[in-house]
Symmetry: C2
Subunit: 285 residues, 2 copies
């Protein structure tokens, strides 16, 4: 996805928020904000949002000295999601179509985010997820491909959401899954530590991108991860960051599973805000 001008405003806001998550005092917050101004001013405007996000959060880390401002929040999200795990399993077990239910629950989990308003009731979202309609529905294409591929590359999004991913991966069993986390902390994106806390190592092989950024930035990626991206027969990409990174890849192996939580991204996809989406990278055949 291209970077819209609104993304600059959002990134500026994010830099202040990250400074506060880093427990920076007012002076530190101000320093972060003004450094972010400078960074934004000098950025290549053809970058994707995750490229800019990555640079901004790198700046916050440099100014505050805090490597993982969202660590406490991420642990809390994982614990909250783990407490829901038995209910998630029960919903899948009792469903007429367990795989579809598990996929929808994986999308439900995408609502877990650092800025989630208090009024969002995660339990209610879970209970109603089976009835949730999809604004873009390439579910039949995804399910069709899942039947024939030898393994799946699964690009993770946020900590906590990982538990919902685990439920889907368990439902895909015995299909082997490589679960891709970020190579270092950026926003509330899941790292190896977060994935381990969610129990992912019991159901998938955990690999990482090789660098600390929310989303995928090919030029920063490890050769190992690039090789997987190149050769995977099917890629499930969760959340906005992965969509923003890879939406231009017109590739039928890619399936984006997300909730459109931001107005700009919703407009880019062409759906109303808050839509649930299963979107194949290339036009579904």
């Amino acid at each position: 996805m291209k970077t819209y001008l609104d993304c600059f405003v959002c990134l500026f806001r994010q830099s202040l928020e990250a400074a506060r998550f880093s427990d920076a005092d007012e002076e530190g917050q101000k320093q972060v904000l003004f450094t972010a101004l400078e960074v934004l001013k000098n950025m290549d405007p053809t970058s994707t949002p995750p490229q800019l996000t990555s640079r901004i959060h790198q700046t916050v880390r440099e100014v505050t000295g805090i490597t993982d401002p969202y660590q406490v929040l991420k642990e809390k999200s994982t614990q909250e999601a783990l407490s829901l795990y038995p209910r998630l399993k029960q919903l899948v077990r009792k469903a007429d179509d367990p795989l579809t239910t598990a996929i929808k629950l994986a999308i439900a989990g995408n609502i877990i985010d650092y800025g989630r308003p208090d009024e969002i009731d995660l339990v209610e979202i879970i209970e109603q997820s089976a009835q949730q309609s999809l604004a873009i529905n390439h579910l039949p294409e995804l399910i069709g491909r899942l039947k024939s591929v030898p393994w799946v590359l699964y690009l993770a999004d946020n900590a906590g959401e990982t538990v919902f991913d685990r439920v889907l991966i368990e439902e895909l069993s015995p299909l082997p899954v490589k679960y891709v986390v970020k190579g270092g902390a950026s926003l509330n994106d899941a790292t190896r530590k977060d994935a381990l806390e969610a129990g992912i190592s019991e159901v998938a092989e955990i690999v990482d991108t090789g660098y600390a950024a929310a989303g995928i930035i090919p030029e920063c990626s490890s050769p190992e991860f690039l090789g997987l991206l190149e050769n995977a027969p099917l890629i499930i990409a969760k959340g906005q960051g992965n969509y923003e990174s890879l939406s231009e890849y017109d590739d039928g192996r890619l399936f984006f599973l997300l909730q459109a939580k931001c107005e700009i991204l919703s407009r880019d996809i062409g759906v109303p805000i808050k839509s649930w989406i299963v979107k194949q990278g290339a036009p579904a055949s």
Copy 2:
């Protein structure tokens, strides 16, 4: 009110919005945004929010060449409010306490804003305004002073809201009112033209601040307006911009009438967001 770091983010967002209201194309919007970045970086951080807002919107005017980006929106707001005028008059006429009702309606009108979400139903707000509680209630002090002062200085806020002000001013009659609009266009703040369209000249003397800014900036004000501000026996200040400008003036002549529409301002005042407020400048005796 001091400028919080969040205000910088909001101003950055406003600059993009104003560029779009000015019909700037993407390139023009980008130019505005990057000029705003530069301006924010070089601003005196001890300024009040209206001082910064004023400078940002001046920048937008310079870059786009559009003097009054919000003109169409302001005219629409005034027309909408004028269509409600008969109902406003009826509500006051039928009220047990017409003056209190007129004051509450004047606060109801403060919801009119350029960024008003579609889901806000102005008619419903009007109908329920008499029952609306005040998070800060210096209404008795205001009504007490209105009985004894020879005239009132009334600091206007947005276009459209002006019609609600007119209803209150008619209720204050025969008390003379000087109605202060902005000396030039800034955001959707009322100018002389907007006040005339709302029929203010029939009920009050219209004066202006002498400069184009949302809110009051003493060092830019005309000597005439500064004299009025200095000598007025009672000042009614409508809306957030006037509160942000004058909240430090510990002056019992000042009464702020507003809805706390922004989280930062609400926190500064110490009330929940969306609160309705009648606040005397000095601690009420």
